[in-house]
């Protein structure tokens, strides 16, 4: 890391004291909003506590039995499985679409801003809005997707009311929404690949296809990995898009949706906390892998 060449104190503040005071406000805010809640969550997960009965006021310590309950809860496993399916479909999907968009956006356009805005707009669109818009794109009667299908000679599909089709409609919406963020990260990666590499490859007689496989893809791999890990962690938390597309319904339920329903709608704080702890642990494991990778890349 960068070390100052000098070590002096100014006024009454030594460098360490100054650092402490500068870091304190951010640390306090994060402790209040992120660290304390996680500690509280773990604590509550050990109690039977529902606001709908007497345990709301006097929680009963039950050890790990909330976790045991989760393991035999079919709805938990379904929600976990749905969430994993979302990760398995939308992460590779968003990476592929994002890579394609990045390659297209990296072409030598004379005017760059319209294309860049085309990548930024989906990123800035709130997830809920993306969910609402795609809910309506996939509307069986008035949706533009079925309109195009019919124009192409196909049949109307009941996207929202058929479970399998609903899953795919949700995946397509997520891929659309998240691929532009992936594209922006990959575009930054593409722009630092030295042009000379392509020139000398062209001199050696390589065609575009070979340049892509031999130069672009290997040099882009670190950026692709970072985007993949980011996407995995966010896809695991999927909530907004399926919530908006089902108008709050739970025909297709992700883990985040089940956690919220249990804790906030049903006011089952103890069990909801246990579900959240499980979700947190899985997410934490992925983050550790990420941090290890990032540190490895910095060395």
């Amino acid at each position: 890391m960068t070390q100052p060449k000098y070590r002096r104190s100014f006024g009454d503040l030594s460098e360490r004291a100054l650092a402490f005071w500068l870091l304190l406000p951010a640390a306090m805010l994060l402790a209040l909003v992120a660290l304390y809640p996680v500690a509280r969550l773990i604590y509550t997960s050990l109690f039977r506590r529902r606001l709908t009965d007497e345990t709301g006021l006097s929680p009963v310590y039950v050890g790990l039995s909330n976790f045991a309950q989760a393991l035999s809860d079919e709805r938990f496993w379904t929600a976990l499985w749905n969430t994993l399916l979302i990760v398995l479909v939308t992460v590779p999907g968003a990476l592929l679409v994002g890579l394609l968009l990045a390659l297209l956006a990296n072409l030598p356009f004379r005017v760059k801003w319209p294309v860049r805005l085309g990548l930024l707009l989906p990123w800035a669109l709130p997830l809920v809005f993306a969910g609402l818009i795609f809910r309506w794109f996939f509307d069986s009667q008035y949706g533009v997707v079925n309109d195009i299908l019919v124009r192409l000679g196909g049949e109307r599909l009941l996207w929202i009311t058929t479970p399998d089709l609903l899953f795919w409609a949700i995946c397509i919406s997520i891929i659309w929404k998240s691929s532009s963020f992936v594209a922006l990260i990959l575009l930054a990666g593409l722009q630092v690949i030295p042009k000379e590499l392509y020139e000398s490859a062209a001199v050696d007689g390589a065609n575009r296809w070979q340049s892509f496989w031999r130069i672009t893809l290997p040099l882009l791999t670190p950026a692709i990995l970072v985007a993949a890990i980011f996407r995995t962690i966010t896809a695991f938390q999927t909530f907004d898009i399926p919530y908006a597309m089902q108008n709050g319904g739970s025909a297709f339920e992700t883990l985040a949706m089940y956690v919220r329903t249990t804790s906030i709608e049903n006011l089952n704080f103890g069990y909801g906390s246990a579900l959240a702890v499980l979700m947190f642990l899985i997410s934490f494991a992925v983050t550790l892998v990420y941090l290890r990778y990032v540190r490895g890349a910095e060395d």
Partner: protein
């Protein structure tokens, strides 16, 4: 340059990226000018037949979009100011000062940014209930500010590192204290970084749904994402109204993004890749 690309391919490439990015926005813009009657025609129309502004009037009079807009604005501006202020202090310390366990602090920052929001939801809900802050702007401003601290700090650290240390040393040799140097040299020079961090924090807060849905449940306190989601009825979908509301909600953010694209892209990749 690379192998030259024929112009037609360039146009095609640009068209693909732009249709992908703009189509949903253009579609709701077109729909927002349609009448309810036109919407339920089969086959559906693409271009509005009798363009009307009725949906926009309806959005402000029949639905409290104005109120939602103000709620969103108060929360997002409050969260942005708080977040960027505390992040700038922390980022300066991380970029310039000798701090033990610096790598650990960076890891913690990135780690916290990966916390699933839904796992923080219940404890925050309990805290807000206990403090009687439900339906209070503070209940949303504090978590929104905190959740953007990691990205804002990472963006600002890389900006501070880009400011030549000599400038600061020179100011200190000339008799400034470190804080004086910070205020007179570093702050003015880091305005672009502060601005980038602000845009990212603002967009994060403007877009956030889960906490807003849970911590500000009363209708008068809904932010735009929550308020517009609830325009969907149980059996009815007033799409022209929803579209007009979406356009109203999207225009400010789209404008900011369009004007400051390069900053946003730079900030995103710094906060992301360098994280």
């Amino acid at each position: 340059m690379r192998l030259s690309t024929p112009r037609i391919w360039l146009w095609l490439a640009a068209a693909i990226v732009m249709v992908n990015g703009f189509f949903p926005a253009v579609w709701i813009l077109l729909t927002s000018f349609k009448t309810e009657g036109e919407l339920t025609q089969i086959p559906i129309t693409w271009w509005p037949e009798n363009p009307t502004l009725q949906n926009y009037i309806q959005a402000f009079t029949g639905a409290p979009i104005g109120r939602y807009f103000i709620n969103s604005l108060i929360v997002a501006v409050g969260a942005t100011l708080l977040c960027v202020f505390v992040s700038a202090l922390a980022a300066y310390a991380l970029a310039r000062l000798r701090i033990p366990y610096k790598t650990l602090i960076f890891s913690l920052l990135v780690g916290v940014s990966m916390f699933p929001t839904v796992t923080l939801l219940l404890p925050l809900f309990e805290m807000v209930l206990a403090l009687g802050l439900r339906n209070n702007y503070i209940a949303l401003i504090l978590p929104h500010a905190a959740l953007s601290i990691p990205v804002a700090t990472l963006v600002l650290v890389s900006f501070f590192q880009g400011i030549p240390r000599d400038l600061e040393s020179a100011a200190m040799v000339d008799g400034c204290t470190r804080l004086g140097a910070l205020w007179r040299v570093v702050v003015p020079l880091s305005a672009p970084g502060v601005f980038t961090a602000s845009i990212l924090a603002f967009v994060n807060s403007w877009d956030e749904f889960l906490l807003a849905l849970t911590l500000m449940p009363s209708q008068a306190m809904r932010t735009l994402p929550v308020g517009i989601q609830f325009l969907q009825g149980e059996y009815t979908f007033p799409w022209p109204l929803i579209s007009a509301a979406l356009v109203i909600a999207l225009v400010p953010v789209a404008l900011v993004i369009a004007i400051f694209q390069e900053r946003v892209v730079g900030g995103l990749t710094q906060g992301g890749v360098k994280g």
